[in-house]
């Protein structure tokens, strides 16, 4: 490899979609050819401000543009939220391993997602749906704080519910008047009866506390720890396994992850901190 690892590709933000009061999706068009595998992440630079890691939420099949869903959580993301269409940004990557989709073929894919964790899951979901017949079924168990906090509302509450081969249940911690789905944390919609335990893989992505309890629940159901895939959020900076910020034990999340099986990392006491 003979290129500068730290040089971003120039991109333009062509659209910004409000998803929730604190979450926006940025449509980013790279000026050079750029592709990724679902579950890989990119480093997005806001020039002069900073850089942060995000997993694209769009399907890798769309090679013209990429969607990145961003929650306001710190200095860089607060300023990103103030950006307008036409903003120039930079992208480095894609980095990491992504989801091993081919290993999911023929199996039930049991996805548990929460909050802005639905961003990487949307990319995975779209990838799975593209070849839905390859999988036994796709089970989605998604949660958010309130109905307003769900991202991708238009598709989530509409077309995604009707895809053949997809079994979707939603829950919120706190409902409002129109809410017709479950109320309670995401583990309250995880049901052993829905799991084809001999032929299933679990995918968990969301806030650390949710990941912790969802993983525990899947283990209780009898999931083998090697069949639970976790998309880990750590402080990835260089993206290429050098700068050290994202280490979990011996692993560089940026290079060896961000998708790990629970088996790989369960020995480390701090993975959900």
């Amino acid at each position: 490899m003979n290129q500068n690892l730290y040089q971003p590709i120039d991109c333009e933000v062509t659209d910004i979609i409000d998803e929730s009061p604190t979450i926006k999706t940025f449509v980013v068009v790279p000026e050079e050819k750029f592709s990724f595998r679902t579950g890989q992440f990119v480093e997005l630079t806001l020039p002069g401000v900073g850089e942060a890691p995000f997993t694209p939420s769009s399907s890798p099949a769309d090679t013209k543009k990429m969607e990145i869903t961003i929650v306001k959580a710190g200095r860089v993301t607060n300023l990103l939220h103030e950006c307008k269409k036409g903003q120039k940004v930079g992208i480095r990557g894609p980095y990491g391993n992504g989801y091993p989709i081919d290993d999911f073929v023929g199996k039930q894919v049991y996805i548990v997602g929460g909050g802005v964790g639905l961003a990487p899951i949307r990319s995975l979901f779209l990838t799975l749906v593209d070849r839905i017949k390859d999988f036994k079924s796709v089970v989605c168990r998604f949660g958010a704080k309130t109905p307003d906090d769900f991202i991708y509302k238009k598709t989530l509450f509409g077309p995604w519910q009707k895809i053949a081969g997809v079994d979707m249940k939603l829950t919120v911690d706190k409902a409002n008047g129109q809410w017709q789905h479950n109320v309670g944390v995401v583990t309250t919609i995880l049901d052993r009866g829905d799991v084809d335990i001999k032929n299933t893989v679990g995918v968990v992505c969301g806030p650390p506390i949710m990941m912790k309890f969802a993983t525990q629940k899947l283990l209780e159901f009898g999931f083998a720890s090697k069949n639970i895939y976790l998309s880990m959020e750590k402080n990835m900076s260089c993206g290429v396994g050098k700068c050290g910020h994202c280490m979990i034990g011996k692993f560089y999340v940026c290079k060896d992850g961000p998708v790990f099986t629970y088996e790989q990392i369960e020995q480390y006491p701090d993975i959900f901190d």
């Binding site: 690892l5 730290y6 971003p8 959020e233 020995q267 993975i271």
Partner: protein, 349 residues
């Protein structure tokens, strides 16, 4: 490879400096630091009997450098050949470690590679190890046998110079006129000094010898209290990671210049509280003891797992730098003793 002899340092250093920028050690207090060699200066360059306090990484991976420019891409600045004189075996072994990360990895760091290719390495034998020197505990010794272009050994009436690479050999050929054949007694003196220094290192560190390989000790101590106990002495100054020749954590940050945006790359330290913190505030290593443990696990277990060598050369700089004298040898020895009393420790990496 060829071995020659010279009475004085100056003609040799002048010959090097004619070809490239040369950095030489200079005494500063009780330590050596590197300065640029000035051939016109009357001051005699001292032969450093021990490693400088400046880690070699400064030459290959500077404290702060420009990593990218936005929107125009930046090519690495053209690095001209340069030489560093007075490096010790521990310094050379630190290059081996940094190479694994920045040069031999599937992702090459162009800035590092450019400097690495242009560096002319002039090492020299160490013969006055400090109390903190402990290379012998970590697979090193007082003199280099590989990884240098030229190596000097100080003897009674001059210096024995040995070539260790084609570049070094070529240099000796080019400057035949300033060297003479190495006398047998000079070579004998060099060898006896080497043996004596090695013996001294062994004696200095006898009490710190471990009963098992260091990675085994670390991997079997995940629940030890030693890290928390040691952390009570630490003032989080991060000096240990700055002076460490193998610590290579860095931090990328963006700045706004007059007419462009720049991405800078600067040394960072895993001892810093916010080092691993994510935007939402989660931090896997909030406790100082956990950060100390992580640093040592990285050095003696994680790095070994990935690259097959330990990430410590036993140079002792961290021991010298620590204001409360936290001593890596003492920490490892304590873990060693703990394990001896707890033979059925669980294995976890």
């Amino acid at each position: 490879m060829e071995t020659v002899f010279i009475n004085e340092l100056k003609p040799f250093l002048d010959a090097v400096a004619e070809q490239m920028a040369l950095f030489v050690p200079k005494k500063s207090g009780e330590h050596y630091v590197y300065i640029k060699y000035d051939h016109s200066s009357e001051k005699v360059v001292e032969f450093n009997n021990i490693r400088a306090c400046t880690p070699l990484k400064e030459f290959l991976f500077p404290l702060c450098e420009l990593a990218a420019v936005f929107p125009e891409p930046v090519e690495p600045e053209e690095i001209k050949p340069f030489a560093v004189f007075g490096l010790k075996d521990c310094d050379l072994r630190s290059i081996e470690i940094l190479d694994k990360v920045f040069l031999e990895d599937e992702f090459e760091d162009l800035f590092y590679v450019a400097r690495r290719e242009k560096m002319f390495i002039i090492s020299s034998d160490c013969f006055e190890p400090r109390e903190s020197c402990c290379c012998n505990l970590f697979g090193g010794q007082s003199y280099a046998e590989k990884s240098f272009d030229l190596n000097l050994a100080k003897v009674k009436n001059g210096f024995v110079i040995e070539a260790g690479s084609d570049k070094g050999e070529e240099f000796l050929q080019q400057h035949k006129d300033i060297f003479v054949e190495a006398p047998a007694e000079a070579l004998a003196e060099r060898d006896s000094t080497r043996a004596r220094t090695q013996q001294q290192l062994e004696e200095n560190n006898a009490e710190y010898k471990l009963d098992a390989p260091v990675n085994e000790i670390m991997e079997n101590s995940p629940d030890s209290d030693v890290f928390d106990i040691e952390s009570q002495k630490c003032v989080e100054c991060q000096a240990c990671t700055r002076v460490c020749p193998t610590c290579h954590c860095f931090y990328l940050y963006d700045t706004k210049q007059k007419d462009y945006f720049a991405k800078m790359k600067m040394w960072d330290s895993c001892m810093r509280l916010a080092y691993a913190e994510v935007a939402g505030g989660a931090n896997p290593r909030k406790m100082l003891g956990d950060r100390i443990k992580h640093r040592l696990m990285h050095k003696f277990s994680y790095f070994f797992d990935r690259y097959g060598i330990d990430m410590c050369v036993g140079c002792g700089r961290c021991i010298d730098a620590d204001s409360h004298k936290m001593d890596i040898r003492v920490v490892l020895k304590k873990l060693n003793e703990e394990l001896k009393n707890k033979p059925k420790a669980k294995v976890a990496k």
